[in-house]
Symmetry: C2
């Protein structure tokens, strides 16, 4: 995947495949270095085509960056749209949200980092492109429903959502640092992720459930 920049002539011509290849390479590069730190030459080197293709298909580094932000947004929004949170008991709905969010981090390992770079260096200017507003608002509404039902304590639902997002993302985003503190631990085996998921669910649900 990363060792293909050598071959000087493309075997087949496939515009869609080339665009997808550029997007995938750009996602990796932007996830690691942010917008300013990412180099278009490095993105091109990760693909089988030349840098000019970036400009042919995307026009500019900035437009490429926006395209990278927009793409997996749809993935997550769709995965979330399929969930019928509104008809589940609030506890079950929140468990599902945490499960899906962590599974999404696993299946889209670069996306959370890109969002953090966007926040840190770009002050969230393009965050609206990601379509996250809607899922977040739905989870807030879900917590509010749990409070009204008397299942949850009278917490601040926005803060609970913040806490939950922090729990679900920190494990992934800070892992390269935390690995130094716990060098022997395997972070991304299916078993480790399952234990992490269950621990996150247990902490959040016990943390907000109404007193008996």
């Amino acid at each position: 995947m990363a060792t293909k920049g050598q071959s000087s002539v493309r075997q087949t011509r496939d515009a869609e495949a080339t665009k997808a290849e550029i997007l995938a390479a750009a996602e990796e590069e932007f996830a690691r270095f942010g917008f300013a730190g990412a180099k278009t030459d490095a993105i091109a080197a990760r693909t089988g085509v030349t840098k000019a293709m970036i400009y042919y298909y995307f026009g500019s580094k900035d437009e490429l960056y926006k395209a990278v932000l927009e793409r997996p947004a749809a993935d997550f929004a769709n995965a979330f749209a399929d969930l019928d949170l509104e008809h589940l008991p609030p506890e079950e709905a929140l468990k599902t949200v945490i499960r899906v969010a962590i599974a999404h981090e696993m299946s889209h390992p670069y996306y959370g980092r890109i969002l953090l770079h966007e926040a840190m260096e770009n002050q969230g200017k393009y965050f609206h492109l990601t379509g996250w507003d809607n899922p977040i608002n739905r989870v807030v509404a879900l917590v509010e429903r749990g409070i009204e039902d008397g299942r949850f304590r009278p917490v601040d639902p926005w803060l609970v959502v913040n806490h939950t997002m922090g729990i679900c993302t920190f494990y992934f985003n800070a892992q390269p640092n935390m690995r130094n503190v716990r060098p022997e631990f395997e972070w991304f085996t299916p078993e480790a992720i399952e234990r992490f998921t269950e621990s996150a669910i247990a902490l959040v649900l016990a943390g907000i459930k109404a007193d008996a």
Copy 2:
């Protein structure tokens, strides 16, 4: 602070002040753009001295970056070293940890972002310079003690520490994104931070306390 690059001649000569000024400017720049995205010219422009002073005092961009990582490390380690966690009841000790961690985020607004950049773009290579291992290990030990005492559920103490760090940091690091979802909210007033702190403490403590 940022509009001082014009004055071509320095009024006073003060090596320590100049070094500190460069470090502060570098911290802002690295926090926003990471290592690759930060420009030495931009760092110099934030100070009252020229770029050559960076190389005069720090030798290279890389050495400057390491100096930035090392500096507030001491602040936090010291603040933490003063806490007598080992002689408090585990609940009280954990409350204190969360309070101090959030206060540290408020008083060092750039530091958490630098650590995230370090994880994302540098894979935590220099994380050992920050001296965080020790505080983290102390909190893990504290949770273990709470479990042994029967005050906490038999949770995985490492995961609890991960969750807690996620809660304490996400509010700050992702705020430029979350602001878009909640545009009317004031995130950093003393009252908002106090509510956030209490909510974080309540969630974590309720989340891990032993069943009655």
